[in-house]
């Protein structure tokens, strides 16, 4: 508040100075000796009741503390047993789970069917206020069949059910949860996970220790690091300094230009993630009175944008140009679709054909995207006569305008909750809901069928039809898949995953 200076403008200056200075500095010394992994996040984690939080930082910590019934092996794409030993669809709307015996919670309580029943039946109630209704609104009730067997009665067919049960719906100890509720779980998180929380200053510092009684056969077993210390350090330059001085072993979300400066001094790993950038076009905006309502205009805009150059310049790392309105890593994300190569001449011809040979002006709000990428899009479109009025807004303002049908184009990103299934992106934007400003009846029908079918072939076929049509009609300009740059101590082995859930239980020292 006391500052009069532009932070952004100073960042690069500071990094330059800091990195130059650091070349003269001391070599990195990881905290390998005390077998403690020192981690920093820039954002404050939310309280660790997984059902109430949205931020990745809190969810990462929670996944170390809690387990779900199932677990997804992202290397193979396979769903594997976790707290449930086996499971089966016993009817179109019922699933039964045989639970694992001999599992202990961090407070010493035994894991049984009561924990599953109490947890899930509580979090599906409206009063509980689970943050994302999509995660639990498909559950009608959970029944205890015996001490180690439960049945989930579904309220509607939902193809993403198994994905959700794979670690996104943690199981809490029933007695403690019934007595203390959400606030209790946040204050004293108790799970069955590979690490237990030993102390926390909410949002600031978390200390975890390996849980020695973690159950055998867990997909999260084999942790070799004794302690994990997580701190919030908002300023990235401070994180770089700590990483290079050896006080930190793991940081992430390093911007591409800065990761190249750090490379060589520490380990930098770039990994693709589920989140993708997109420009949504809204034929339905302003009651259809917008050039965007014309398919040829939409196609022209994509041809006019040099997405390859934008990715190279601003995203870097593992990011690639997308032709589909979903992440290629997601199930059902058909790749055999109409692709729009960079061709400004073709764009001009299409615009002329649509009656816009002299171009036009259009507002584009961008939110949660770097300004340079938005400016690059605007510069490319200016070459074909289209003037973009760029308007940077908070995501809440931008999406608010979009939902109010006031925006012809919105440049933002979507992370699909980190879930590798096309259902978690297409249905939101093309399924007929409030975010769907295309309102294509065919798409809504295909997507509903795909989202509710249990047959994977039926799902894949319907998503394929939808993705092809979205690309052909140029309803979206998919930009690129995001990547995350991790900065690691030179002594650390760590494997990143595309769902952005850091699995520190799999990390080890070299």
């Amino acid at each position: 508040m006391t500052q009069k200076f532009s932070l952004k403008g100073l960042t690069s200056l500071a990094v330059l100075a800091a990195s130059t200075a650091l070349t003269l500095g001391t070599p990195a010394l990881a905290d390998k000796a005390s077998n403690t992994l020192n981690v920093a996040f820039a954002a404050e984690p939310e309280p660790l009741d997984t059902y109430k939080i949205a931020g990745r930082q809190g969810l990462i910590l929670a996944r170390h503390i809690y387990d779900g019934l199932l677990y997804k092996n992202l290397d193979t794409g396979e769903i594997v047993p976790a707290l449930a030993e086996s499971w089966d669809f016993t009817g179109p709307l019922t699933m039964e789970f045989n639970l694992r015996q001999g599992v202990k919670f961090h407070n010493g309580a035994d894991f049984t069917a009561d924990d599953v029943v109490e947890t899930l039946n509580t979090v599906i109630t409206a009063e509980y206020g689970t943050r994302y209704s999509i995660s639990v609104d498909w559950i009608d009730s959970v029944e205890k069949l015996d001490d180690y067997k439960v049945r989930i009665n579904m309220s509607k067919p939902f193809a993403g059910a198994v994905e959700m049960l794979a670690d996104a719906l943690p199981i809490y100890p029933h007695a403690f949860f019934a007595e203390n509720g959400s606030a209790g779980m946040a204050a004293t998180p108790i799970g069955t996970g590979p690490y237990k929380l030993v102390s926390q200053e909410p949002g600031i510092r978390y200390e975890m220790e390996r849980f020695e009684d973690h159950y055998e056969g867990s997909p999260k077993s084999g942790a070799t690091i004794d302690k994990i210390s997580v701190r919030t350090i908002p300023e990235m330059n401070t994180q770089y300094a700590e990483l290079m001085s050896g006080s930190l072993d793991w940081i992430w979300r390093i911007p591409p230009d800065q990761s190249s400066r750090l490379e060589g001094r520490v380990q930098i790993i770039s990994a693709p993630i589920m989140r993708i950038g997109y420009v949504g076009f809204a034929p339905e905006a302003m009651a259809g009175d917008t050039p965007i309502a014309d398919k040829r205009v939409r196609q022209a805009l994509i041809h006019a944008t040099n997405r390859g150059a934008i990715v190279d310049a601003f995203a870097g790392g593992a990011s690639e140009v997308l032709n589909t309105p979903c992440n290629p890593a997601q199930f059902g994300c058909e790749q055999d679709v109409t692709a729009y190569e960079y061709d400004p001449e073709k764009a001009k011809a299409l615009l002329a054909e649509a009656g816009y040979e002299d171009g036009f002006k259009m507002e584009m709000v961008f939110a949660a995207m770097p300004r340079p990428t938005a400016e690059a899009v605007a510069a490319d479109l200016a070459n074909v006569g289209v003037t973009l009025e760029l308007n940077e807004q908070q995501y809440s303002s931008g999406i608010g305008k979009w939902r109010a049908k006031e925006l012809p184009a919105f440049f933002s990103n979507w992370g699909s909750y980190g879930i590798g299934d096309t259902a978690f992106i297409l249905s939101n934007f093309f399924g007929g809901g409030a975010d769907d400003l295309v309102q294509d009846a065919d798409l809504a029908t295909w997507l509903t069928e795909a989202d509710t079918a249990s047959d994977r072939d039926v799902r894949a076929e319907n998503y394929s039809k939808a993705v092809k049509k979205i690309a052909e009609e140029a309803y979206w300009m998919p930009m690129y898949n995001f990547n995350v740059n991790y900065g690691l101590s030179n002594d650390l082995n760590f494997t990143p995953h595309p769902d952005e859930f850091a699995r520190w239980w799999g990390a080890s020292w070299k």
């Binding site: 949205a54 949002g203 401070t238």
Partner: protein
Amino acid sequence: MLSFISKRLLVAFLVCLTVSALSFGLMFVSGDPAIAIAGAGGRAEDAEAIRVAYGFDRPLVVQYLDWIGSALTGDLGQSIYFNVPVTEIIGNRAGVTLTLGFISFLVALVIAVPLGVAAALRPNGWIDRLALVIAVSGQAIPSFWLGLMAIVVFGVWYGWVPISGADTWQGYILPVIVLSYYAIPELMRITRSGMIDVLATDYVRAAKAKGLPMHLVISRHALRNAVLPLVSLAAVQLGQLLSGSIVIESVFALNGLGRLAWESLLRSDLPVVQAIILILSLLYVVLTTLADILNAVLDPRLRGSS
């Protein structure tokens, strides 16, 4: 004097109310809080559920009156993000900011006032030139950059002090140096110019002429008058330092009120933002009121002009 103070307190109270109403309205102009809370991955249905759950669907006036009513009874509501009472969070974070702000203010004052006086005694002398260098660099060098340089040199190269966090008192060393360096120039300049003006007055010349030692001329005659504008400025400076420097708290990972305000604003944690705005406006009002009263004590002529 009593009527002077009561009038100032009444004005102060009205200012607080106005600021709180304005800030309350502005929060809603900046975007739909329900969407912000639902997050960038939230669907329209999630935002709608949040809108109802937190009462954002009620008229703005009702929401404001409801909040201010509770605030007057000491209930500042529940943080949406942290899911705990706002007073608890602010209580946890205030200590860091108050410590940082007060110490930085004292350090700045202890350096700025003597330096300003010394500079005024010998204009264009070496102390005055040194003061000028400090003033110019303090205002020109961004504290963000200075903070990072301090981290690199004293934290990374030499390893003398912790780079971030306030786990020990050493964690405050670098932030205090940087923050006070930022506050020194204005305090010093106003001391210097005030002293130069006062030293040129007839009564100071008379005091010198009658043979009073210089230190008595300064402390008894000159400084008391030169300090009047300094008191007003110091109140504002202290307010700024106590309201928490977002930049300094971010660079040094100090989890104080400044950062809490900034982060809460970004995540639309309305109860926290509203509480911080109210507390900070109260703080400014109290400090400026105290400064006015102090000035009135120092200079009786000001009491009449109220």
